[in-house]
Structures are given as structure tokens and as C-alpha cells.
């Protein structure tokens, strides 16, 4: 009886591997065709030390890209933004045409060291201007008329992940971006509290006694597995990360706290590949000047401290920080001294080994806008994801993004 069970289980495993193999090889192009045993070997995230990590930051609400990276010489800019347009004293020059918002002083220092690449006009065809929908599109890497129920990082985990902590969100709950078809990342705000939630003596006993052999039920097995994983992940997270503490001063706000925790995780050698954080409040419809100033300052100072923290433990060279927002804002300011939802936007890539630091591409023309009065997009955001997946995380992007995309040259 027992032997039969074991046999059945082994053959199940074989069937699954075969399926997975067929799935992978049919999705991958001929170029990537490799024998199954090689594939199986490379089909999970490397556990070697010194591997690369990706930190993704969403500026939630739709950051006003034009007041972040400013075309200060363009008269169209000043005409479209008579009251909120940034003047000479409010900006820091980058090149002959573009400048940064004055609040980004700390980011400019990183920029001068060659750690920042600014990619302009990032978007996608037929942009959606709803926060929810646009966020979904960015997080699932879908087309604007396609509804995917799994996130791009989640699908990365499906294909290449092993542990829930392979991708971690620094928040209370998990975004769609980190939810796959079969595997999810985890959300952790504070390793200690998360550890505590898994320390209930009763639940610990339940998972300790769990017997896989007697489990004939698929969904229930999944629940037990998730529970046991959560417990061991929480323990691993807490015990690993508590070994280091930061000597860097961070600003005192929740965004900086996220980054501080992230740095602690990274510096302690935690085997997490992707971190996901966010800074909220960019939906600046009215009187945007002060709000925007405050948020950008918070962003730049947080990042500055974060980079210093990583540098202090020599982990910056293996870390790439990607900052995006679900959309940019309308070129023309509105009557409330703010801006409405737009489309294409600038995106920051920050890292120690950039191929093309500085301004990656010219800002789109302000005299040739789309029907809504928004910037026309030039670079598809999925090209950026594809580049990061292939060139940074060393995986084939096609199985994650469900399509073939172009690769860029920033890393």
C-alpha cells in the first residue's frame, strides 16, 4: 500500500516536470531550447551569494513627471503651466534641456556619480487614466485592454521562485504585482511583528504535527504548506535580519522606514530577489506645489540614505532600484493649480553599474501631444521589465511577460 503511494507520487512528480518542460520549451523561442535536465537545473533562483537584487518603488497616485524632470527651456512648458511651472530657482540643471525638481537635491548627487539613469516617455499604447486600472496594467504587465489576474513578479516566482520570501513587499498586504498563478510573494512591514504573528503556540503545534503522507486533498495541502512556509520564512527573516543594524541616519517617515527595513534585509544577506515598496500621495489635482515638493524630497532623501546604507555593506553594486508611477500627469495645468491624470512618464533606474547613466532619451515633444493633451509614449514599460528580467535577474522574460519585448541598454 505504502509502496504504491510512493510510486504514485514519484510518477506525479515526473508528469509535472514533463508538463513544465513542455510549457517552458513551447513558450521559449528556438534559441532558448535546451535539454530538460539543463533547464531543470537553471529553473530556480540561484542561491549563490552576491546575487543581484531588484528594488521596485511605486510613486502611487500618478507622479507629475514634467515637474520632476523639467523641460525648462521649452516655452510650451511654461505656457501650459503658468502658476505651477517651475522657475529658474526651483530647479537643478541636468543638461541643456532638462532639469530636476529642486527637491531632488539628494538624488542629483547620486546622478552626478553616475548612479541614476532617467528614462523618459515610458508608457504603453491606449493608456488608461484610472489609478486602479493603470496600476493593474503596470503591476500585471498587461496590455491596456487585457485583464490579467497575476502580477509580473508573481509570474517570475511561478517560474523561478522557491520560497515565498523570494519577493517581498514592505507593506501590510500584498499587491497584485507579487501574486502569481501558483506562488505568491510575501508582505512584511516589520520582521519582528511578522515573526510574532507566526508564534501562536497552538498554530505552531498544528504545523509541527502536520503529516503530508495522509493528505489527499489538494487545496488543504496548499494551506498547510503556506502555513509552514510562513512560519519558517518569518523565522528566517527575523533571525537573519536581526544580525545587522544600520549606522546610517534615515529621515523619519514611513517611506524611509520601508527602505531602512529593505536595506537591513539586503545587508543581512537575506536571499530575497525582489523588494517592493511605495510612496503614496502623488495624486496632485489641486494646489500641487507644496505637496509635490514634500513628496519628492521624501523620495530623494530616503533613496540617498538607502544607497549609503547599502554602500556601507558593499551591497549597492548588486542592487538595482526601479522607480515608476502608474501614470504621468496632463501637460496643461488645471484651474485648481494642480494637474489631472496623464499618461507617459519618466522612470528612474538607480544602480552602481549602469550602462547609460544620465538622461537615457530625450523628453517627448510638448508641441506634439496625444488627443488628451498628454505626452506621447516612446518606450513600452514592458521593455523595461524585459530588460531587467533578462539582464539583471538573468531569466528569460518571455515566460514572465507572456510575450516577447525589446531590450534596452541601460544595464
Amino acid at each position: 500500500m505504502c509502496a504504491v503511494n510512493v510510486l504514485a507520487r514519484i510518477s506525479n512528480v515526473l508528469v509535472m516536470d514533463r508538463r513544465k518542460f513542455i510549457k517552458n520549451s513551447s513558450l521559449a523561442s528556438g534559441l532558448f531550447f535546451v535539454p530538460s535536465f539543463v533547464k531543470a537545473f537553471s529553473n530556480h533562483i540561484s542561491t549563490e551569494t552576491g546575487y543581484k537584487r531588484l528594488v521596485i518603488i511605486q510613486l502611487t497616485g500618478g507622479n507629475d513627471g514634467l515637474n520632476t524632470i523639467v523641460p525648462f527651456r521649452d516655452d510650451n512648458y511654461h505656457r501650459a503651466r503658468p502658476t505651477i511651472g517651475l522657475k529658474k530657482d526651483d530647479i537643478i540643471h541636468l543638461d541643456k534641456d532638462l532639469a530636476m525638481h529642486g527637491s531632488l537635491q539628494s538624488l542629483k548627487r547620486l546622478y552626478d556619480k553616475g548612479f541614476v539613469s532617467i528614462i523618459n516617455n515610458v508608457g504603453y499604447p491606449n493608456p488608461n487614466r484610472s489609478h486602479f486600472r493603470a496600476t493593474d496594467i503596470w503591476q500585471t504587465a498587461s496590455r491596456s485592454n487585457q485583464f490579467l489576474q497575476s502580477g509580473w513578479i508573481g509570474r517570475y516566482l511561478d517560474q523561478f521562485g522557491k520560497q515565498p520570501y523570494d519577493a517581498m513587499e514592505l507593506d501590510q498586504s500584498l499587491s497584485l504585482a507579487l501574486k502569481g498563478e501558483n506562488q505568491n510573494g510575501m508582505a512584511v512591514q516589520n520582521a519582528y511583528y511578522f515573526y510574532k504573528t507566526t508564534q501562536d503556540p497552538y498554530l505552531k503545534n498544528v504545523s509541527k504535527h502536520y503529516k503530508e503522507a495522509h493528505l489527499n486533498e489538494h487545496n488543504l495541502g496548499y494551506l498547510y504548506k503556506t502555513m509552514i512556509d510562513a512560519e519558517s520564512s518569518a523565522k528566517y527573516l527575523y533571525e537573519t535580519s536581526k544580525t545587522v543594524s544600520s549606522s546610517i541616519d534615515y529621515p523619519n517617515n514611513s517611506f524611509a522606514n520601508q527602505l531602512k527595513t529593505t536595506a537591513q534585509f539586503i545587508n543581512s544577506g537575506l536571499k530575497t530577489r525582489v523588494y517592493y515598496g511605495s510612496l503614496n500621495g502623488f495624486d496632485t489635482h489641486v494646489y500641487q506645489e507644496n505637496t509635490h515638493k514634500r513628496l519628492l524630497k521624501m523620495y530623494a532623501e530616503g533613496i540617498d540614505a538607502f544607497v549609503k546604507d547599502l554602500q556601507s555593506k558593499d551591497t549597492f553594486k548588486d542592487t538595482l532600484i526601479l522607480t515608476f508611477s502608474e501614470f504621468g500627469r496632463r501637460v496643461q495645468q488645471n484651474s485648481g493649480h494642480g494637474t489631472d491624470h496623464g499618461s507617459a512618464n519618466s522612470l528612474f533606474v538607480i544602480g552602481g553599474n549602469l550602462k547609460k547613466p544620465g538622461v537615457y532619451n530625450n523628453l517627448a515633444s510638448l508641441s506634439d501631444l496625444d488627443n488628451n493633451g498628454d505626452l506621447k509614449f516612446e518606450i513600452d514599460f514592458r521593455d523595461i521589465y524585459a530588460t531587467v528580467l533578462n539582464k539583471w535577474l538573468d531569466v528569460n522574460h518571455e515566460t514572465v511577460l507572456l510575450n516577447k519585448f525589446n531590450q534596452l541598454n541601460f544595464i
Binding site: 485592454n145 485583464f147 501562536d200 498544528v206 495522509h214 487545496n219 510562513a230
Partner: protein, 457 residues
């Protein structure tokens, strides 16, 4: 009808059943039990909260200044929270369990969100009203709802500038499913839905001037179709009936489709699209009660909360806290993630949601405490753990243990698992439970509800 089958029916068609009610039904035949289930949901009663601030509001008042408008929108958001709470209460306490279950099902099928309370309430009641009615009428009613017109850009769908959003989702998500229509069908159908609008009070308005009255070529037919014609043409295809039957099957029976069962259901559903009939058929089949389906579905967060309340009636004292629980569990009513709705099943589960789910019964019922007394052990080892614990998760609920005592008075402690759990307990877990000293039914009840097994229905 045996108790196990009744419990299965009530978990799938409702939100669980208490032993008293179960005892009462167990002397009846399956036919009678199913008939009774439908009888309880026969009448439709709208879910209404006090919206007096908005009842007499005019568009002119609403748009008087940006400031006033913002204040109304904020007020409206608060009202939507209140409606959320009222909806949960309806799920927890209404006798029309099947109607409430179907309202929840349709809210995820015709997924939509809006910020204006009047339209949100109206939409929710349209779902409730048609929940067991005719699907053809239902789709037409949905296409006229202010929230849907707003959500899928029907308002922007005009004669000269068509917007395909609604036409696309109508086919992809509401009726046919991917692969059963062409891009041209969408383009042509979008023309038929031009001119759809609503007034500030929420009544549907058809704007003749914006309606494209030309010929539309759709699914091999041609005519000067309007929106209702398109819906009829779509639903005349058996594929639509099959698509809905599959969705019902996945929700009520099993995520794994059995095509012959789907064919039987489609036979009943097509061409009349009577929702009540197809459900009645499904709940009456032997295959519905097949062992493989019982206790194999992961409860949605709302089903989990409702199930706990079925054992020990709950009342949430603080609306924001209720919504916080919904948020942390990943299902805020009125805020589906997108028009495709919640994916359900395993997708409800991640490390965070699962830990909260396991702790929810104890948080709501026993001050976050799950007893772990070993047999023969005198003191509670939990105290040591509790000392160092941050207590920032105090939820204000009242739980009615008296009702538990009365409902479960004829159930012995030993029998409790078969009333609380739908699936069998993992052998290792069972062994562990046997080492515990069970000194009262209440503690044991919380222990059982804190198991992964309790997540299943």
C-alpha cells in the same frame, strides 16, 4: 436528506448552517430541502441605508464649487463603508441566504466600482433583485446602470468617437468568454451601445443624438441594432449559456470542470436563461453531493467571516475595523480589484492572509487566544506567549456565545468537528488535537475554527 449533504448545500448555496436548523431539515427529502432553500429567497428586499444627504441633492448643488463637490464625495465614500457594513450584516443575518450568496456571486461577475453612494446602492440592489431571475433581463439591466456606464466608459461611447470598453467586457467577461468573438464583433457592438447615459438621479438616459443608427455587422448578422439587440444576439448563442454554467459550476461545485455536468446544466439554462432553474437543477443532482466536492473549496474572506458568525453570531461595532479586516484578508466589498473580479481559490491565500485567517476566530471570539492546554496540564502556556505580545489588534466585536450554547446544546464536544468542519482533519493534526485536554466546548470550537481545515467548505 443526510446531514453531511445538507451542510454541503448550505455551505455552497449559503454561508453554513447551525445544528438546530440542520436537525430540523434532516427529516426532509432532498427535494424538500432544496425547495425550502429557494422558498426562503423568493422575496426580494432591497438593501437600503440612510442616504438622505443625497436623496434631494441636485447636480447644480453638487457642482456648486470644487470644495462642495469634494465634501460630497468624501461623505459618499463614508456612506459606501456604511453600506459595506450593512451588506455584511445582510450576509450574516438574512434568511434569504441563497439570494445573498448569488448577490455576492454576481457582484464578482459584473464587477464594478463607483464613488457615488446612490449609484453604488442602486447597483447592489439590481444585483440582488436579478440574482435568481432571468439572465437576459439581468445583462440588459446592468448595461443601464449608472455605475457600469461610468466604470466601463459607456458615457464616452459616442457616435463619432466610439469607446469599446463596455462592448469588450460584455463579451469577454459577462457573456461569452475569450475566444468566442472577434475584434470586429466588438467594434460593431460598441456602435450599438452609443448614446447610453444616465441623469444625476441615476435614471438611465438614452441620447438619440449620440446614437449611431447605422447598420452594424455582428456575429454574421446585420441590422440597425441597439444595445439590447446586441445582448439578445449574444445570448442567442449557446456558448453564452455554457460560459455562465461553467462559472456557476466553478463557484458552487468544483474548480475542475466536468464537461458532461456542464452540458446538462446548459441544457437547462438555454435558451430561457432562468437562473433559478439552473441552480435548482444543480443543487438537485447526485453529482453535486459527490464526495470529491465536499469540503474542497477555499472559503472567500466573506464566507469565512459569515461562517464564524454562523457558529457564534457576531456584530461588528466599528465599521472601519470591519473594513480593515476585509482589506487585510483581501476582499473589500464594493472594491473588486478590477473588472475581472476576485480570482478566488488559492488566490485568497498568501502568508499574511493565511495567518490572519487562522487567527481570525480567536481574534473575534476569544480575545486572540487559542487554548493549548495539554491533557493533565494545569496552567495555560499561552500566558507566557501573551506577555510579550503587542496588542494593537483589538477588534471591537461582540460575539454571542449564548446563541452558540443554545444552537449546539445537543451536540457533544466529541461531535463538534463534524458540525464545524467540512473536510476531514489531517491525521497529524488529529493526533495533536487528541493530546489536548478539552475542558469546554467553547475552547474546542475556537481550536477547530483556527485550523487550516476550517478554511475549507
Amino acid at each position: 436528506m443526510n446531514k453531511k449533504e445538507i451542510q454541503h448545500l448550505y455551505w455552497r448555496a449559503g454561508f453554513g448552517i447551525n445544528p438546530k436548523h440542520l436537525e430540523f431539515l434532516s427529516s426532509k427529502t432532498r427535494k424538500e430541502v432544496v425547495a425550502d432553500l429557494f422558498f426562503q429567497s423568493k422575496e426580494y428586499a432591497p438593501l437600503l441605508i440612510d442616504t438622505s444627504d443625497f436623496d434631494t441633492l441636485t447636480y447644480e448643488q453638487f457642482t456648486k464649487s470644487k470644495k462642495i463637490q469634494r465634501a460630497y464625495i468624501k461623505n459618499s465614500r463614508d456612506k459606501i463603508k456604511e453600506l459595506n457594513h450593512a451588506w455584511v450584516d445582510a450576509i450574516l443575518y438574512s434568511d434569504s441566504v441563497l439570494r445573498e450568496k448569488m448577490t455576492l456571486f454576481w457582484a464578482n461577475h459584473f464587477a464594478c466600482q463607483d464613488k457615488m453612494i446612490m449609484y453604488v446602492q442602486k447597483y447592489n440592489n439590481t444585483l440582488r433583485e436579478h440574482a435568481l431571475g432571468n439572465f437576459r433581463d439581468f445583462v440588459k439591466a446592468i448595461s443601464r446602470e449608472p455605475s457600469m456606464i461610468e466604470y466601463l466608459d459607456l458615457k464616452q461611447n459616442k457616435k463619432d468617437t466610439p469607446n469599446e470598453n463596455f462592448a469588450r467586457e460584455l463579451m469577454e467577461l459577462f457573456t461569452l468568454g475569450v475566444g468566442n468573438y472577434t475584434e470586429k464583433d466588438i467594434k460593431e457592438s460598441a456602435k450599438a451601445f452609443t448614446g447610453y447615459n444616465y441623469d444625476f438621479e441615476g435614471s438611465f438616459e438614452f441620447n438619440d443624438n449620440q446614437h449611431n443608427n447605422e447598420f452594424k455587422y455582428v456575429f454574421g448578422k446585420a441590422g440597425r441594432y441597439d444595445g439590447d439587440d446586441i445582448i439578445d444576439i449574444i445570448l442567442d448563442q449557446k456558448t453564452s449559456a455554457e460560459f455562465i454554467c461553467k462559472k456557476l459550476y466553478r463557484y458552487f461545485v468544483n474548480n475542475q470542470i466536468n464537461q458532461s455536468h456542464i452540458d446538462e446544466m446548459t441544457q437547462v439554462f438555454y435558451p430561457n436563461y432562468n437562473i433559478e432553474s439552473v441552480l435548482h437543477f444543480m443543487f438537485s443532482q447526485d453529482w453535486f453531493y459527490s464526495e470529491e466536492h465536499i469540503g474542497n473549496k477555499i472559503k472567500s474572506p466573506i464566507e469565512l467571516i459569515a461562517g464564524i458568525s454562523q457558529v457564534t453570531p457576531l456584530s461588528f461595532k466599528n465599521t472601519d475595523q470591519l473594513i480593515r479586516i476585509e482589506r487585510m484578508l483581501g476582499q473589500i466589498l464594493f472594491y473588486p480589484p478590477n473588472v475581472a473580479g476576485w480570482k478566488g481559490g488559492k488566490n485568497w491565500i498568501d502568508s499574511n492572509t493565511l495567518m490572519l485567517r487562522l487567527k481570525l476566530p480567536s481574534i473575534l471570539l476569544s480575545n486572540a487566544k487559542i487554548a493549548t492546554n495539554k491533557k493533565g496540564e494545569f496552567y495555560d502556556s499561552f500566558n507566557a506567549y501573551k506577555k510579550g505580545k503587542a496588542t494593537n489588534t483589538q477588534f471591537k466585536t461582540s460575539s454571542n456565545w449564548l446563541a452558540f450554547k443554545s444552537n449546539y446544546q445537543n451536540v457533544s464536544t466529541k461531535e463538534l468537528p463534524q458540525y464545524i468542519l467540512q473536510c476531514s482533519i489531517n491525521k497529524g493534526t488529529q493526533d495533536y488535537l487528541e493530546t489536548l485536554s478539552i475542558n469546554n466546548k467553547q475552547d474546542y470550537c475556537v481550536q477547530l475554527m483556527s485550523l487550516p481545515e476550517y478554511q475549507m467548505c
